[in-house]
Symmetry: C2
Subunit: 253 residues, 2 copies
Amino acid sequence: MINALRPGATPLDLLLRRFCVPRRLRPDDVARFGEATTDAQSHPAGAELSSADGHRPGLRLVASGFIAEVRTMSDGRRQITALRIPGDLLGDEWSPQPCDVIALTSAQTVDASALATARKDPSGRFDPWRQAWAAAQAEEEGRMADHIVRLGRLTAYERMGHLLLELHERLMRVGLAGDGVFHLPLTQEALADVLGLSIVHVNRTLQQLRKDGLVNYRPGQVALPDPQKLAAACLYAPRAGVRHPARAETCGS
Amino acid sequence: MINALRPGATPLDLLLRRFCVPRRLRPDDVARFGEATTDAQSHPAGAELSSADGHRPGLRLVASGFIAEVRTMSDGRRQITALRIPGDLLGDEWSPQPCDVIALTSAQTVDASALATARKDPSGRFDPWRQAWAAAQAEEEGRMADHIVRLGRLTAYERMGHLLLELHERLMRVGLAGDGVFHLPLTQEALADVLGLSIVHVNRTLQQLRKDGLVNYRPGQVALPDPQKLAAACLYAPRAGVRHPARAETCGS
DNA sequence: CGTTAGTTTGACCTGTATCAAAGCAGGTGG
DNA sequence: CCACCTGCTTTGATACAGGTCAAACTAACG
């Protein structure tokens, strides 16, 4: 079970891995974050963490699970505008656009308001963190642009490969993916809502990718036998500035 | 000529209108911006202001014309990820994702690095401006999410109406649109690259909208006879926090 | 076991792309 | 002043990617 959060992977671990740019953060740089961990919360799959014009919790860190920022329209069409994975931040300070936030799988979050405070600290003590935040925001905006390109100009086939490569890259960084393999506990409906496709077509696209030997998908688990080749086929450009941890630990059951 | 920049509309005017949230800025709030206007630059239509991995100028303010942030892929497909209109900012500090920036029409920009500096000023003297910047960033992110929804879940017909409504709203704010009428000097190819459609289909979509009495398009000029009805047809939600100037001055030829 | 949520398959339809060519300016040079 | 570009828009004919509908299959779960 590659993707299960190892017992040892504390929120602080996640944070340091996730925000390792521009240079490695040290624990001190993140505002005695450990203490806030008391406010951990669990969310069952499907739970709404906050809604566009209702409840708006402060800054939180995803500790486990997949979470989506989603826009739903009057006639039921839905579009997921962003996927949040462990190590990502959630809340108005991080992504201020109006949308619903829902857990796609059962998930856990912990309070991270200390990080928002630290960022505003005038003393310069948290400059490394401020820098890391800014770099992460820049990356975020780049990923949104990627998403726009995906939806606007890529075929279904390319979109799917492109998304899987992005997720692999991001999961890799926080130690939740092995070499070309990762746990993807999303329904095909969720994938459809990310990619702007119908469920049926998502299914067929995955089969096509498998036939071409580029993606080995089965519900819950993805393998990318040849990421290079897939990237070429999907016009995927890995994001500069994303450094993978020296070694993604293998994980005990 | 509704959209021509009136002689009286200085960059400072634009700026105050554009960043009027959360409350009206006063000229002092924007860092003696007027002085920087010496570094005005003109860009012919089609000019590249900066490229993804090459030349990266500092923060600049669009004084006139339409400018696009665009991603081009190896096989020639292009996607415009953002449109910049007068009053908008340009450059790494504002939108840090890697992309080319090109002028869609002849355009003018002026240096605005003073604004980036002011934002970082620790003295609290520029807090109103800092606030305005943050609000504008939030709006920007919301617009990107809108764009994602447009491309992912709206039909060509809806996309077009949605985009025109957004542009109307934004142009209105900086005094470049009258009641439902504005100058739109974009080729249908540019529209196609924004909306993720083919040129031909853009053309047909515009005709359909005209037949339905929702949009009156002719090259260079757009009229929206019934914005309410159009918004309903395209699932457009006007953005909260965008206040139009008390009165968009009529403009002497 | 039956129920339920998710995946898979098949048949068919439609929105949008593609290709090709014809209008329609506005600008240049003879 | 006309003839000719050249860039943009418009139209028609045709092809295909992806959507929709409906039903069968699978597996987890009480």
